[in-house]
């Protein structure tokens, strides 16, 4: 089943930032979001993940099928790598975390507390969470921050494998991942400012 985004209009802090965003993401396909800072990439991804209601338009095919990865990884520094990942695996009802640890080269670190990991290792642990969700649609916000070249390759391989098994991926990033993915530039969707005298419900 594909992810259908049609005529989405989203706001940040009460002001519309993007309007008319439409795309269709089919199984096995990936879409890279591009656009200057502050254009609303994060807000768009949060809307698609269902954290934030859009001003208008709709997202179809996303309910309970999206795994969302934000800027922060939601790691608990007092828990070990295994405990962190095992927690998310049980929340999402999947059993094994071995494959996820292996995919991001974390097996050797499995009993280290997450607080003692380096920034890149933490990020890898955060990304490995996507593998234990068992969900088909990955929505990821700047996944490659603080990753070195080798780790980016690991990530690209994980996405590649996910797509090959019929998954979907929606990724906001500036790095070229070497994926056969469509690119959506958000620039043209920037919301036009309302007329100054349009003094109604939204006060603008």
């Amino acid at each position: 089943m594909s992810l259908n985004v049609s005529d989405l209009c989203i706001a940040r802090g009460g002001l519309p930032v993007l309007e008319g965003v439409s795309f269709i993401l089919r199984p096995g396909g990936a879409l890279i979001l591009r656009g200057p800072n502050g254009i609303g990439k994060t807000t768009l991804l949060r809307s698609i993940a269902g954290l934030q209601p859009p001003l208008g338009g709709e997202v179809r095919g996303g309910e309970d099928r999206i795994a969302y990865s934000a800027h922060s990884d939601g790691l608990k520094s007092a828990l070990t790598v295994t405990e962190n990942l095992q927690f998310w695996a049980s929340v999402f009802g999947t059993r094994s975390i071995e494959a996820a640890l292996a995919a991001y080269d974390l097996t050797a670190l499995h009993d280290r507390p997450a607080g003692t990991l380096s920034a890149g290792q933490k990020r890898r642990l955060g990304l490995s969470r996507m593998l234990v969700t068992g969900r088909p649609i990955w929505v990821m916000d700047e996944p490659t921050v603080s990753l070195d070249q080798a780790s980016v390759a690991l990530f690209a391989a994980a996405v590649q494998a996910h797509l090959a098994s019929g998954g979907l991926a929606l990724i906001a990033t500036h790095i070229d991942l070497g994926l056969a993915a469509d690119v959506l530039d958000l620039g043209p969707y920037r919301a036009k400012p309302l007329a100054l005298d349009d003094f109604d419900g939204a006060f603008l």
Partner: protein, 218 residues
């Protein structure tokens, strides 16, 4: 859901989890009371149930701002909100974990501190029963306050200001039951009211807390 409960309990007892801080606070407040009101044992015996209830309430309040703020800061709340658990369940589990790590130890410690305050012998049973019935309500109401202030930088004081008026009915019935018990009077009415409040807030409050949390996550 068990996984979330186990994780929260594990986090509370690991280093930096703050387990035991509430208990220590409870002890200190109780020890300070005789310094403030004087050492006469009959006076202490009379105010002991109220002091112990107030001490338990304040210790509970103290630990509330960590309840959701830590999960907010590291992004876990966002991820939990997109997980297959309903947010109402997440909130209820968090309140339960808070009760197990804060409320339950307070209930168990209260009789020991009652000795320090010369609590009459009849009072111990009803003090423990009233705390056992009342502290779950304190945790659940407190979770609502924590959800309201979760995104705020300096939410701690505001959290207390918002939660304390909501604690009034619980405190009145709980302390009244403990007081009547200590004086050898009938405790059925306040205990029933207390149990009613606890049951009501446990059943309904998670919906309000989850609604508030959803708004704050937007």
């Amino acid at each position: 859901m068990m996984a979330l409960l186990i994780r929260d309990l594990r986090l509370a007892v690991r280093a930096g989890g703050g387990f035991g801080l509430g208990l220590a606070f409870f002890l200190i407040v109780t020890v300070l009371v005789p310094f403030a009101v004087g050492p006469q044992s009959d006076l202490l015996a009379r105010i002991a149930p109220g002091v112990l209830w107030l001490g338990a309430l304040l210790s509970c309040l103290l630990s509330l701002d960590r309840l959701l703020a830590l999960d907010w800061e590291d992004g876990s709340l966002d991820l939990l909100a997109t997980a297959p658990l309903p947010l109402e369940a997440v909130i209820s589990i968090k309140a339960l974990a808070h009760w197990i790590t804060t409320g339950l130890p307070l209930v168990l410690a209260a009789p020991l501190l009652g000795v320090l305050l010369n609590l009459p012998l009849d009072g111990y049973r009803w003090l423990v029963v009233s705390l056992l019935l009342g502290t779950p309500a304190l945790s659940v109401i407190g979770t609502f306050g924590a959800a309201l202030t979760v995104g705020l930088k300096r939410g701690g004081l505001l959290l207390s200001l918002l939660v304390m008026p909501l604690y009034v009915p619980t405190l009145i019935f709980g302390a009244e039951a403990a007081r009547r018990g200590a004086m050898g009077m009938g405790v059925e009415t306040p205990l029933l009211m207390l149990a009613g409040i606890s049951a009501g807030v446990i059943a309904l409050m998670p919906f309000a807390s989850a609604a508030v949390l959803r708004i704050n996550l937007r």
